[in-house]
């Protein structure tokens, strides 16, 4: 099964089970959770089921395309089920079967692994799903987002697409995956991995380490200030986008070793404060729109 077939299979499965098929967020984010289709939809009482691919950037995991298992950018298949159905584990296992993973032949386990994002004021309880010892999915019951308790509770299923594709195609190196139609993963993404890793670790000609850090600090401050302005004007989605940009810039600063611990804590706190304000503003706005009749 090719990489793109895997995406098609999962989309077909979840669409058949009532999910809207959404598109990736067109911004640099570290996980599908940052997408407003997750972050905003899990807030409030309204039922919502959605599935989408999210390219996810982890500057710290950049390996210049040399490591067979690690990537600056990987792809998550994200499913949100709200409320979380009673049969959610069963559904998930069926989704694996639909991709050609036979649970009667493999050892599939749910092992404790809770999830927390300090920058989003969010946490949940759940498992990592292990397939013959390989972690293929993060399975989380969201408890809080933006510092607010969630009711009803949403279930987030995050498939690691490269991992699963490597398992199915039996390749040892992610760059050897067949993306589709005989085209390899490396042909699609290798150059990007090399360039992005160099950037993430500050290997930029004519820009010293200190200058690299300064540029990103400035960008962070500008995006942050803009985010606050947008929020004051109740432009909540644009404000969230600035907040996510800040989060990514912080990751770059962190990966390139540009910040000390005190500064690091400070950055996390700022992103957190902004994201919590954004989430609260979203909840308030939703309440206003739906009105007392709803």
């Amino acid at each position: 099964m090719t990489f793109q077939d895997l995406i098609l299979k999962l989309s077909t499965f979840w669409a058949a089970h009532g999910c809207l098929l959404q598109q990736p967020l067109d911004l640099e984010v570290g996980a599908g959770t940052s997408h407003p289709e997750t972050l905003f939809r899990v807030l409030g009482p309204k039922a919502w089921s959605v599935a989408y691919v999210q390219p996810s950037r982890r500057p710290d995991d950049g390996r210049f395309g040399q490591n067979p298992n690690r990537l600056f950018k990987h792809h998550q298949y994200q499913v949100i089920l709200k409320p979380s159905p009673d049969e959610v584990q069963q559904l998930y296992l069926e989704s694996l079967e639909s991709c050609g993973i036979n649970p009667r032949i493999h050892d599939i386990r749910f092992e404790e692994d809770n999830w927390e994002s300090p920058t989003l004021g969010a946490w949940g309880i759940g498992w990592q799903v292990m397939l013959d010892g390989l972690e293929i999915t993060q399975f989380t019951y969201f408890q809080q987002v933006g510092g607010m308790d969630l009711a009803p509770v949403s279930c987030e299923i995050t498939y690691g697409l490269e991992r699963i594709a490597m398992f199915l195609q039996r390749v040892e190196n992610v760059f050897d995956l067949e993306w589709g139609g005989g085209v390899r993963y490396k042909e699609v993404r290798l150059q990007e991995e090399i360039e992005q890793s160099k950037y993430a670790f500050g290997q930029v000609d004519g820009l010293s380490g200190a200058e690299f850090a300064d540029v990103h600090r400035e960008l962070f401050d500008k995006n942050f200030a803009l985010g606050e302005k947008l929020l004051d004007s109740k432009l909540i989605l644009p404000a969230l986008e600035q907040c996510l940009k800040c989060s990514h810039l912080f990751n770059i600063l962190d990966a390139s070793g540009s910040i000390g611990v005190t500064e690091r804590t400070g950055y996390i706190l700022r992103v957190r404060q902004l994201s919590i304000r954004v989430a609260k503003a979203h909840v308030e706005a939703e309440n206003l729109e739906s009105g007392p009749a709803a």
Binding site: N69, P83, L93, I125, G133, V153, E172, D254, T265
Partner: protein, 730 residues
């Protein structure tokens, strides 16, 4: 007739580490609730668990509650009747409350006088009618290390029912019949896919395996025996010990087939064997191979990757060398074990390839060059980065080597080891395999050809931790690193413990996230075993160590005294764990903890243990108690007031003290506490005679003062060794 009660709470996968505790809780709460609802049973509740179920069975539970008979006390008789004998409003009110006439009330004699009383009799209800209350109570009683909301509540007026993981079914049978019970789902969640959970007669087996029918279907059961048998047919072994035995048996068989045995590091450095039976419902072992090329990686990296990251068991040969093989416990009876083995091999190979990448990459830079990077790694938010910690530990370790251990010639090497001790936190290997911190630093230092004294000090720096687990390395293992390791290991732990206390991060009874107890335990353990671990026979007192460690923190007096008490408690705990008598431990740890040397305390206890049963020592101890009372607040005179003490018993005691004092002190000085305590015990006849013949509280003020002064002198002499009045049994 008594009938069987069977409860199974079917859950989504419960974390393995919680299961032993939850299993015990189930039995305890069911028993307590049975008692509370007045249901008698022949035998205590038995409980079982797998990752997907918490089960309790009570063999025979009575069919009815016992009848309740209770004497309810009302107003005192004195206040119940007026002067003419007519009932007061208090008496009338009480009678009315129970629907009887005042004449129908009894009188009850209590220690506080006679009271009106009503005999309340309540017929017991049928068991099936109270079991729902019991079920609700048990669900509320269970405590989880971390709980979640899952849109569920009970109709008991208490609302939301948080739990460890979502409950998916509830088997609740009494005498083979279903007891109705319902867990409701909130209005917001309720719908076609989210429904109330109603108790039923069904259990569920393995999701994918069965010996008959469709896997994962509901299985109707009547009794516990039936339940257990049906589960086994459906690939669930209910008894944890059976799962564990199956695992052990198969591990052994497979290891033998590979002509090896399971690596002893599994038992020594992990709880893997305790954990796996709670990760699976039907364990089977499969074997896999590691490509030989990876055996060039340090053994520590290989075993940590296998044990901690994959829950795999490494296999070693007769000489204890790793074999290119591993064993994995899976949760099924595999149709094609070779497929699972091959996949497990691929996962492990991928991880090892990663590790080899780190190994090559990390060795391209020196530990020295990584020190600056430590400023980006947080030690603690109130205590700054590891860069700052390194500076503190260097100073402290150097001081410990020079001043506390008195080996100034080791100071330079100690400082070098301390300076590099945290650099491995900035390596990719440790960022990935955090369990290897310290170990990896040591290995990289060895690769850099740094002296053995340096790399071993780094390698073992985090040991020992706790009282018995993770013991200190042996003298042979340490070789020339004995002193630098001792100084570094002490300095690192002291800095953490004292620093955290200064920052106000004190461990509480149930919470010690930073592991300060275990670290403090490590400190006192090293100090108590100093000759064995470092080859140095020095009595290091706690006070100066703590003061020196506190210097960089601006710690206030309160924090310092709290850390002193904390260390004293840990020392007492260590010594008690070693089997010393609690009273003796109190005796040797009396007074200022700062003046205490753990090594000295241990030796005194050994001497006291040898002298157990010495009548004369016990005699002095008993009299010391009296002495301490009489001389409370009196300091010993610098010399004996001339001429006042003329009684023979007085003079005999004066002479005895003058004679034994130098002997006791000399014995203590050379750590011969047996001799010191013997000398104290030898005072017994003189002390006893003194108290028989002499009235200390003489009327003459001068004489009295002289006598009290004499006993105070004796008191101080004995307290220099130990407060032996503590050894007296009350």
């Amino acid at each position: 007739m008594d009938r069987e009660l069977l409860i199974e709470i079917g859950c989504e996968e419960i974390p393995a580490s919680w299961l032993p505790g939850l299993t015990a809780q189930m039995a305890r709460h069911v028993d307590a609730r049975l008692k509370e609802v007045r249901l008698t049973s022949d035998a205590p509740a038995e409980s079982y668990s797998t990752p997907r179920r918490l089960t309790t069975r009570v063999i025979r539970v009575a069919e009815r509650q016992t009848d309740l008979e209770e004497l309810v006390t009302g107003p005192p008789v004195a206040a119940a009747f007026g002067p003419t004998g007519e009932p007061t409003p208090a008496a009338l009110g009480f009678a009315k409350k129970y629907g009887v006439e005042v004449s129908g009330l009894e009188r009850s004699d209590t220690s506080k006088g006679q009271y009106l009383a009503y005999r309340l009799r309540q017929r017991g209800k049928a068991t099936v009618d109270v079991l729902a209350d019991l079920m609700g109570g048990v669900l509320r009683d269970l405590r989880f290390p971390k709980q979640m909301r899952w849109d569920a509540y009970l109709e008991d007026g208490k609302g939301d029912l948080p739990f460890g993981r979502p409950i998916r079914w509830l088997l609740l049978l009494y005498g083979g019949r279903v007891v109705p019970f319902v867990i409701r789902r909130t209005e917001l969640a309720q719908g076609p896919t989210v429904q109330d959970i109603r108790s039923g007669p069904n259990t569920y087996g393995h999701r994918f395996q069965t010996t008959s029918g469709r896997a994962g279907r509901a299985i109707k059961v009547k009794t516990f025996d039936d339940y257990q048998a049906r589960l086994l047919e459906n690939f669930v072994i209910l008894e944890r010990t059976e799962r564990e035995q199956k695992i052990r048996r198969e591990l052994e068989t497979h290891a033998r087939r590979l002509s090896g045995r399971v690596s002893p590091s599994v038992a020594a450095h992990s709880s893997l064997l305790q954990e796996v039976p709670d990760l699976v419902e039907y364990p089977t072992v499969v074997a896999g191979h590691i490509p030989v090329e990876f055996l060039t990686l340090p053994e520590e990296v290989l075993t940590t990757t296998m044990i901690h990251h994959q829950h795999y068991f490494p296999v070693v040969d007769e000489d204890g060398r790793l074999k290119p093989a591993f064993l994995a416990v899976i949760n099924m009876e595999p149709e094609k074990p070779e497929i699972i083995s091959r996949n497990a091999e691929r996962v492990l190979t991928a991880r090892l390839r990663d590790a080899r990448f780190f190994w090559d990459q990390d060795r391209a830079s020196t530990l020295e060059s990584r020190i600056e990077r430590l400023s980006t790694i947080l030690f603690h938010k109130k205590l700054g980065s590891y860069r700052e910690k390194v500076d503190r530990v260097v100073t402290l370790a150097e001081w410990i080597a020079t001043e506390a251990l008195r080996v100034p010639e080791a100071a330079r090497v100690t400082a070098q080891a301390a300076r590099l001790s945290k650099s491995d936190l900035a390596t990719d290997m440790v960022r990935e395999l955090t369990e290897l911190q310290g170990t990896m630093g040591g290995i990289y230092a060895r690769e850099e050809q740094l002296p053995e004294a340096v790399w071993k000090a780094i390698y073992f720096q985090y040991l020992p931790v706790g009282v018995e687990a993770d013991a200190a390395p042996s003298r042979q293992q340490l070789g020339p690193a004995a002193v630098p390791w001792t100084a570094l290991s002490l300095a690192d732990k002291l800095d953490s413990v004292v620093g955290m206390f200064a920052a106000g991060e004190l461990p509480t009874g149930s919470r010690d996230p930073l592991g300060l107890r275990r670290q403090a335990q490590g400190i006192v353990k090293m100090l108590a075993d100093l000759p064995e671990v470092s080859g140095l026979d020095v009595r290091v007192r706690l006070g100066p160590l703590l003061d020196k460690a506190a210097a960089p923190f601006n710690a206030d007096g309160e924090a310092l005294s709290a850390v002193g008490t904390f260390m004293g408690d840990r020392l007492a705990y260590l010594l008690e764990q070693r089997g010393f008598d609690v009273r003796n431990v109190r005796a040797v740890l009396h007074g200022d903890i700062g003046q205490t040397s753990p090594l000295e305390a241990k030796r005194k206890l050994e001497a006291l243990a040898q002298m157990a049963g010495s009548a004369s020592l016990l005699g002095v101890a008993t009299l010391l108690k009296r002495v301490k009372n009489i001389s409370k607040g009196v300091s010993a005179p610098s010399s004996n007031p001339n001429g006042l003490l003329t009684e023979p018993a007085e003079q005999a005691l004066v002479a005895a003290l003058e004679q034994s004092a130098p002997a006791i002190r000399a014995a203590a000085e050379r750590s011969d506490y047996r001799e010191a305590f013997a000398a104290v015990a030898a005072l017994q006849p003189m002390v006893a005679k003194f108290f028989d013949d002499v009235l200390v509280m003489a009327e003459d003020e001068g004489l009295r003062a002289a006598r009290v002064g004499l006993v105070a002198t004796m008191r101080d002499l004995i307290l220099e060794i130990a407060d032996i009045s503590e050894i007296v049994t009350d």
